[in-house]
């Protein structure tokens, strides 16, 4: 672009710091402090992207976070790439690369633009109505095609190289928004001794007043911008005030809990930001909150109101007065209020040709008088009926508005322009207020929703509270802050304000046109391409709730969340339905206020920090011996130890055989361990387990089954009586934490009279489980002082013993069905214990085995795994474990539920064994079991819960839950699979050593 639109002086940019950047591959220049939008405008670039549905050319509309159109992809194909970045917020840096979105092959010529011409056949709800039939085309054609065209930018495909952080912040007063009222509030609050935090989303404070160039706006006889600039400088010296720039509030939850995103690096070049934090998410708890989030300008809704070059009036003013950028050479202002005249006067002062089209009949405000005196041409009582210009606005057509405001009359007037500044009044930003639970009220005089009753300790001040005149803003900000913070005097008590007041106002939500609505395109949601006629169509089709209309037309559902024109949608709905806007209400404003990148949301919880990993003390040994690991809860458990090139199946078969033939060793450290002490410990166990515990001798172990109060199996494990009033309970690995909290719950809330103390010792002890016919020989070697004969150390008993002076607890218990010992030692000696076991077992080919072999061995023996063979619907009776349910005990958790009619049903699903007719065929866990394959619908009897090929029995075995299974023993059943049906026979579920000869050997 040859012409330079930055002909104007500005004190807000660093003109000595010229910066180059690329936009759609072409090199441009801007200055430090420019946003991408202001830098592009200074180069005469207006066309930024294509709209979502119709692929219409769109340009920069605003100068802030409400921007619907100018959203770009930053960072090209690099790992830094980010889609949907608002050009109006992105500051430029040396080497910045930005590109247009949603266009192909280029933003200038976009094939998707065809949608614009077929728009009459793709109205609201087009997708819902069209892609309903034929149904089978959905997966093969419709969905892939819709997915291709869905979305605006491109998601990054590489790992984000940047760092994000989370931080907590506590303060007395949080001020949100650094415009004039936020600055005054922060000043009053910190002067009053409150620890105050002021956050603002821009790089510098001051809002719109800081670039107010009009001499008629005066505070204490100074120009308002000068006065404010001095106040901002004073803030820097306040002791108890923290100011956070480039920080935008994302969410406002109840109890004054707020989330804010601080942008630390997005304005820096890649060289400057290496290895530094990109963004920080602040989790703020504030005692009091002052919202000064301001207001955003409304557009006007007329035919073809979306062309590049059509912008909001106040944004045009900011580009001139703040960035020193002209948005065009021939400007037209289109307005329904006086505030746009400020823009006209600014333009006129800078020598830019300007004309005003006003839908009102007149206005007596000082601003209008000044505009007239400057010789600006004003068309009163006129509206725009059409605009021309494909990639940039070229001209507009205006007509006079009829007396009742519903029609246009007279002749069309054609006006040439290259920039159209639109102002439809102001919408207070009440998003955060409503997020916090506040209720709104509607003010009819200027058609705005305002904060009414707040849920938490907060106030809204300034224009987000409906004050749009400078004198009102300052006067009310001071008095509201004084009340809110209980301060009697402030530095601002004597402030004197002079400003032009706004006068006549007129509001028409949908401006009249000479053409019927169906032939026009008055856009409401610029990003999602929904128009006034879409909203009217939705109403004609019967949608009444504003939430329904929103979803049907997608109005307000883009990345900008409809900040600009949601009010117009509401207005049109209320007019069409004949309902007052105040009673219609608004759609729900949900967090985040502006989009957050996922990196900020997850912070440091990425990679290895994504989830906690728990490792046993023997973990290094397993790793060094090439174990494959399995996640069990947060634990990493050794799964199997492949030798050479063994497959998992081969390794598990070898390990299982070795454990039964000679000796195996398992790391059982992950089992939950709860230390139970107290004079009522035995009574407590009686109440929580189904079986009796009072008579368990000291030094003995017992298997226990724990139920929920509903009678369903909850957990199991072996508990050892260490002393008179001292037990060690083990739980399943996954259930440890839940069991402890359940037991605590009962102790604290139901049985506070019991003297019992629970302590988790899972992490304090490491456990090696040595099993197999030679386990006794190995233990003898490790503990030469202990007598391991059956009289002295029988199955289900415990001994204390020392290994090199370190105390060990040895339990002779078994989960494999083999003669077996579990050795517990303080965690720090765990690895050493393991290595000593391996050394002592060398002679016996001691074989480390993992969880898979453990599961196989216990399945051979018919031992259940809670959570695998049970699923929260199995009683002990269903598991054929009647023997463990005490008939004598008066009560235990879940006892009463075992006598409910449903739990007593005989045809419940029950645990059985399954043997396949072909002994080599292994069933799939989870496979469904049926009796009659022919019957339609096929009746499902149950499913396979555990299934293995047993090397010790040389056949396939499985556990299953089957309806009425106890009575089906010996019967043939079927397991239908995708390509075949497997025939099975119901069997006993103990497949191996049912007489326990090996256990007691």
């Amino acid at each position: 672009m040859s012409e330079n639109f930055r002909s104007l002086e500005t004190k807000f940019l660093d003109k000595t710091n010229r910066i180059s950047f690329k936009y759609n591959g072409k090199k441009y220049y801007g200055y430090k402090g420019d946003t991408l939008a202001s830098a592009l405008l200074s180069n005469g670039v207006h066309l930024i992207g294509r709209s979502f549905k119709y692929h219409r050319p769109r340009g920069i509309m605003t100068c802030g976070s409400e921007e619907p159109n100018a959203i770009v992809q930053i960072g090209g194909n690099s790992s830094f790439t980010e889609p949907n970045v608002r050009a109006t917020e992105q500051e430029i840096y040396e080497g910045l690369e930005a590109s247009s979105q949603n266009c192909w092959p280029s933003v200038e010529f976009d094939v998707g633009g065809i949608n614009n011409f077929i728009s009459p056949i793709i109205p609201a709800g087009f997708y819902y109505k069209t892609f309903m039939w034929p149904k089978k085309l959905w997966y093969s054609l419709y969905e892939p095609a819709i997915r291709m065209s869905a979305g605006l930018g491109k998601s990054p495909t590489q790992t984000d190289p940047e760092l994000y952080d989370h931080n907590h912040l506590h303060c007395d007063v949080l001020v949100v928004g650094g415009g004039i009222s936020g600055v005054i509030a922060a000043s009053i609050s910190s002067d009053n001794g409150n620890n105050t935090v002021l956050i603002d989303d821009k790089s510098s404070l001051g809002g719109t007043t800081i670039f107010q160039d009009d001499e008629n706006f005066k505070i204490n006889d100074e120009k308002s911008s000068v006065w404010l600039n001095n106040k901002i400088k004073e803030l820097e010296n306040k002791k108890n005030l923290i100011i956070k720039h480039r920080t935008s509030l994302a969410a406002y939850h109840n109890y004054n809990y707020l989330l804010a995103r601080e942008n630390l690096a997005d304005h820096k070049s890649l060289n400057e930001r290496s290895n530094k934090l990109r963004q920080r998410l602040w989790k703020i708890r504030a005692k009091k909150v002052i919202l000064a989030t301001g207001a955003i300008e409304r557009p006007l809704i007329f035919n073809n109101n979306d062309r590049p070059g059509i912008m909001l009036a106040n944004s045009v003013k900011k580009y001139i007065d703040y960035f020193g950028v002209r948005c065009g050479n021939k400007n037209i202002i289109f307005t329904n209020n006086d505030s746009a005249y400020e823009t006209a006067i600014s333009l006129n002062k800078k020598g830019i040709n300007v004309t005003i089209v006003d839908i009102r009949n007149s206005s007596s405000s000082m601003l209008v008088k000044n505009a007239k005196n400057a010789g600006i041409k004003i068309y009163w009582n006129h509206t725009i009926v059409d605009t021309k210009g494909y990639r940039r606005i070229k001209s507009i057509q205006i007509m006079e508005i009829s007396e009742d405001g519903t029609n246009v009359i007279g002749d069309k007037i054609n006006l040439v322009c290259d920039n159209l500044s639109v102002s439809g009044g102001w919408t207070p930003m009440v998003h955060l207020f409503t997020q916090s639970g506040g209720k709104l009220k509607f003010r009819d005089s200027d058609q705005v929703f305002l904060p009414n009753t707040a849920m938490s300790d907060q106030i809204s001040i300034g224009s987000c509270n409906g004050d749009f005149e400078l004198d009102d803003i300052i006067k009310n900000t001071i008095s509201d802050c004084k009340n809110f913070l209980s301060s009697s005097t402030t530095d601002f008590d004597l402030v004197k304000v002079n400003c032009p007041k706004q006068k006549e106002s007129k509001n028409i939500w949908l401006l009249p046109n000479d053409k019927p609505l169906g032939k026009t395109k008055p856009f409401l949601d610029f990003q999602n391409d929904s128009t006034a006629k879409d909203v009217k169509l939705a109403m004609r089709e019967g949608f009444r709730s504003i939430e329904h209309v929103k979803r049907y037309t997608t109005t307000g559902m883009g990345t900008d969340q409809g900040k600009l024109a949601n009010m117009h949608a509401l207005g049109i709905i209320s007019e069409t339905a004949g309902v007052k806007m105040g009673s219609l209400g608004t759609t729900t404003f949900r967090p985040p206020y502006t989009p957050l990148t996922f990196g900020t949301i997850v912070g440091r919880n990425v990679g290895a920090f994504f989830d906690i990993t728990r490792k046993t003390p023997m973990h290094d040994w397993h790793e060094n011996n090439k174990a494959k690991f399995e996640n069990v809860g947060q634990w990493k458990r050794a799964w199997y130890y492949p030798k050479d090139n063994e497959s998992m199946h081969q390794a598990v078969q070898r390990e299982s055989k070795a454990a039964r033939d000679s000796a195996g060793i398992l790391d059982a450290s992950t089992l939950g361990k709860i230390d139970i002490k107290g004079t009522d410990a035995s009574e407590f166990l009686n109440r929580v387990y189904t079986n009796a515990w009072s008579k368990l001798g000291i030094g003995k172990c017992r298997y226990g089954l724990m139920l929920n109060e509903d009678g369903m199996v909850y957990d199991d494990g072996v508990t050892t009586r260490l002393d008179d009033n001292h037990y060690l309970m083990t739980t399943t690995t996954g259930g440890a934490a839940n069991v402890l909290s359940k037991l605590e719950d009962y102790l604290q809330t139901e049985w506070p009279e019991l003297d019992v103390w629970l302590t988790s010792v899972t992490d304090q002890y490491a456990t090696a489980s040595v099993c197999g016919p030679n386990s006794k020989n190995i233990l003898k070697k490790l503990f030469p002082d202990v007598e391991f004969n059956d009289e002295n150390f029988p199955h289900m008993s415990y001994k204390n013993a020392e290994m090199d002076g370190i105390n060990c607890r040895i339990m002779r218990i078994s989960f494999t069905g083999e003669h077996s010992y579990e050795i517990n030692i303080e965690s720090k000696y765990g690895k050493s214990l393991w290595e000593k076991c391996m050394e002592a077992g060398k002679k016996y080919n001691i074989t480390p085995y993992g969880t898979e072999t453990m599961h196989l061995l216990r399945a051979e023996k018919g031992f259940i795994i809670v959570g695998q063979d049970t699923d929260g619907t199995m009683t002990p009776i269903d598991l054929q474990m009647d023997w463990i349910v005490s008939k004598k005990k008066y009560d235990f958790i879940g006892k009463r539920s075992l006598y409910r009619s449903d739990t007593m049903r005989e045809d419940r699903k029950q645990l059985v064994g399954l043997l396949t007719d072909n002994p080599k065929e292994v069933l799939e866990e989870g496979a469904q079991i049926v009796q009659d394959e022919k019957k339609q619908p096929i009746e499902m009897l149950g499913h396979v819960t555990s299934s293995y090929f047993s090397p010790n029995l040389n056949k396939s075995i499985a556990l299953a839950v089957v309806r009425n299974g106890k009575k089906l023993k010996g019967q043939k059943l079927y397991v239908p699979m995708k390509d075949k049906t497997i025939n099975v026979t119901v069997s006993d579920f103990i497949f191996f050593d049912s007489k326990n000869e090996r256990l007691n050997a």
Binding site: N254, Y255, T749, P752, D891, R900
Partner: protein, 91 residues
């Protein structure tokens, strides 16, 4: 994200606590003497009201103590916090 005043630890963030359902449902002392309906009433029936509700909370990531909270479920306002076994404070 509200703030709960644990009766043992003081004001803490909600994230330290876990909710434990309706309060003041006492486990029957003699369950075997109850009819199926009476037992089912204890076992399954819980209130879930919009408004002021009596709840159990556990300071799970703190002192691990259970206690009672009176909370308005419509706005998360906490009216009172009191220990297990204590009677709810009269308003």
């Amino acid at each position: 994200m509200f703030i709960i005043t644990c009766p043992f630890c003081g004001e803490r963030d909600q994230s330290e606590f876990s909710a434990g359902g309706e309060a003041h449902i006492v486990r029957p002392k003699q369950p075997t003497e109850l009819s199926d309906d009476e037992w089912a009433d204890f076992l399954f029936m819980r209130k879930n009201i919009k408004g002021v509700q009596f709840e159990r909370w556990n300071h799970a990531h703190g002192c691990r103590k259970w206690f009672n909270v009176i909370r308005d479920t419509s706005n998360d306002k906490i009216h009172a916090v009191y220990k297990m076994g204590e009677k709810p404070p009269q308003k």
